[in-house]
Symmetry: C2
Subunit: 228 residues, 2 copies
DNA sequence: CGCGCGGTTGATCAACCTCAACCCGCGTGG
DNA sequence: CCACGCGGGTTGAGGTTGATCAACCGCGCG
């Protein structure tokens, strides 16, 4: 695999040192509620404990680009100084721990392993961001979708050939991959028509031919490949 | 500006605490020499002290995507665990300090301000990566180029209406922005023809109409705007 | 002199976008 | 109960942007 670690933020396995963020108050967010907006003062870091969050940037001409889908373990708010550079919104029920930035330095000095955990986690997020750059910048629509679906499948705990969750709308996928939602819809239909995929509902997905999707993500030209 | 902090990694101002990486041996690299390759074991972190570095990912089908241009202050090697997820190459003469990953934990525990500096720096790099995602995913070719030129100009120490350095080839710009080099060449010619830009040499650039380039980067439709 | 590298320019083409119609499920209110 | 609107999704026709392929330029160098 070229895009070595996938385009999505992932859980960092619990280290022996324990919870990466024992500090801070727990906050809860309902689906589709904003967590903060681009331009807001950055008062807290948020360490996600459960649920899915999307982070996005909106250009002044109204175009939006999702820069990350994040789940448990990811840290929100490290990518900037005083104002948030992106907006964040809960996609599912979300719980997160808040660390006031005013106390970040103190807390890290007192507990160096927290600092190390944050560092490892944000490093991971940087890796995911770079993988997304590669996907968005260098892949075709079909390749992007294949890469994305494989990432989502790997991330989920569902077994091979079991349905996994796609907790985002078509438009979100499009804004994540730098496509239009019509293109996403079309290509998903194509994949199903060709028998590589089955979507029992709008937000659930089974990969039937992972081999083919992987070849596609890696750049094989499957234009001649027949259905099923 | 929407892409708040630009698409490029920037120098972090020296904090009172002093050099972000007083540890480690200095290493030097000549222009166009590789620093490490995608897949290599990650033995060291590198903190750039001077010069420009490009980090890129190559897909198995040979496509390449530059994921970052980095200069002094940036940290290389935090975005992954055991193997490097991208390749790095010196674009100019480069000096950098190497921190063995085996000693990272120990060093950070002994010197929490180093950990905090690394954290702030990698956060910045994450911000730059997200800005690049937004540019590559949501902007047209002209917008990408305008955004890029403004970022480079801001980054350089050159005064307004003075020439600044473009230390990369056309093809590098293209691989950074997710375009083909022909497109970059064409659009740069367009910009000059229209009088927004002057390039005294292949690797130097003067912005003549920053206002227009900014409007363009922000999504204004200048298709009707006449030359000069 | 000839060659290779980096860049520019032109002609053609296709991937993806745009705009629009339409479907379906659902909640609301007459 | 049904009509209606709305949000989200799918599908189709046609247009545009940027990719592709190819020729050509200028320069440095063996």
């Amino acid at each position: 695999m070229c895009i070595a670690q996938g385009t999505l933020n992932r859980v960092v396995p619990r280290s022996g040192a324990g919870d990466p963020a024992p500090e801070g108050a727990v906050r809860r967010f309902a689906p589709h509620t904003p967590i903060f907006f681009q331009g807001d003062l950055r008062t807290h870091l948020l360490v996600i404990e459960s649920g899915w969050v999307k982070s996005y940037v909106t250009l002044v001409d109204g175009q939006r680009q999702i820069v990350a889908f994040s789940n448990a373990g990811s840290v929100l708010g490290l990518e900037t100084d005083v104002h948030h550079a992106s907006s964040c919104e809960a996609m599912t029920d979300v719980t997160a721990r808040a660390i006031p930035v005013s106390r970040l330095e103190e807390v890290c000095r007192r507990d160096p392993s927290l600092a190390l955990n944050l560092l490892r986690q944000v490093g991971r997020q940087l890796g995911a961001a770079q993988a997304l750059i590669a996907s968005v910048g260098a892949q075709s629509a079909e390749q992007k979708l294949a890469t994305f679906l494989i990432s989502m499948a790997d991330l989920s705990s569902a077994a091979e050939d079991e349905a996994f969750d796609l907790p985002m709308r078509r438009g979100d996928v499009a804004e994540f991959l730098g496509l239009r939602l019509e293109t996403v819809s079309r290509k998903l239909s194509d994949f199903q028509r060709r028998g590589w995929l089955h979507m029992p509902s709008l937000y659930a997905c089974v990969i039937l031919r992972r081999d083919i999707l992987e070849d596609l993500a890696d750049g094989a030209d499957l234009s001649l490949r027949k259905a099923s």
